[in-house]
Symmetry: C2
Subunit: 199 residues, 2 copies
């Protein structure tokens, strides 16, 4: 390019590295930063450094937290007999938004994927097994993603837990609420049919 | 929400303030920041503060630059007889990407818009008039946006410049290259017809 502002280009590059940010969005964001006041810039950079310094994994469920043990594991009102196993901390946020689940979580930080050379040892499966030793937990809900990797991970952990006499369940498959049936894929529709229930 | 990580929520809020960033994108970006190394976080925050501290307006054309006078105004190879008047620094980048324009620019930093109480005095029109005093410039291209505000600004400045004996031109209107004619709006099509040229 004949003309450019190196330091601005650098910021655009930084933003472009972020997920779901393209060149145009990165440019728009960089120009937004340009228009901020001193305090606003400080609050933005502080938030970025702060998250990086202070957020860590909960010693029990491996979810993200600012404390040694996360608020969910610490809570007295949560049902400690059920653990919902998810792939990522974002899944925990998704479940918490439903306000329907009151048990504990366990975050695997990934899913088994030989293609990306992620094996069972790269996930927090050992930590999950350790949590099941004292017989408080009687149900483990496998809430990994409905993808090939998530499915394989659910099957793998399911087989590990069966001998322990713990109930292992899997999220229901079906058509998403509010969706248009004509756009549903065959596999989802087949699963929705198979799993049909009395009304 | 029953559970949240305050410092992470804060970062998500910061990102959500940015243009073209929704809640989901902001979350994705915040989790991306979480996964960065120490150096990567430093490089990101440095880029943000750096842009804010170092970038300022060129003393001549009011475009953004790190120096007192921007590289375009400083350049010996640019045609100093033509000034392209644009609304924002991003428009300069757009023109530079064409590699077709070799003149100078003038950035207005907005357009006349009574609705948003932006009048001629809020733009850098005085600075533009000052640049036209020494008779080097013989053409001013009005390249404000093809919107009501951009049009009004072009007309306003055009009328100011006419008495100075300077040629004032406006970008051509027509159908955008690569577009589908059936989706073109009536006004654009009418303009494309009126402005038709021999091939």
């Amino acid at each position: 390019m004949a003309y450019s502002i190196p330091i601005l280009e650098q910021l655009i590059d930084e933003f472009r590295k972020m997920p779901s940010v393209g060149t145009k969005s990165a440019e728009r964001m960089a120009f937004y930063v340009l228009g901020l006041s001193d305090e606003e810039v400080k609050s933005l950079t502080d938030a970025i450094s702060g998250v990086h310094e202070k957020v860590r994994q909960c010693a029990i469920c491996r979810n993200l937290t600012e404390d040694e043990v996360c608020p969910i594991c610490q809570s007295d009102t949560r049902d400690k007999t059920t653990i919902c196993v998810v792939e990522s901390p974002r899944d925990v946020l998704a479940f918490e938004r439903t306000h329907e689940y009151n048990g504990l979580y366990h975050v695997l930080h990934g899913a088994i994927s030989p293609m990306n050379s992620v094996g069972p040892d790269d996930l927090t499966i050992k930590e999950l097994l350790a949590r099941l030793q004292d017989d408080t937990v009687n149900e483990v809900i496998m809430a990994t993603n409905p993808t090939v990797e998530g499915e394989a991970t659910a099957m793998y952990i399911g087989r590990l837990l069966k001998p322990l006499g713990i109930k292992v369940t899997r999220l229901a498959y079906g058509v998403p609420v509010g969706a248009d049936l004509e756009y549903a894929d065959e596999v989802t529709l087949t699963r929705a049919l198979t799993g049909r229930q009395m009304i």
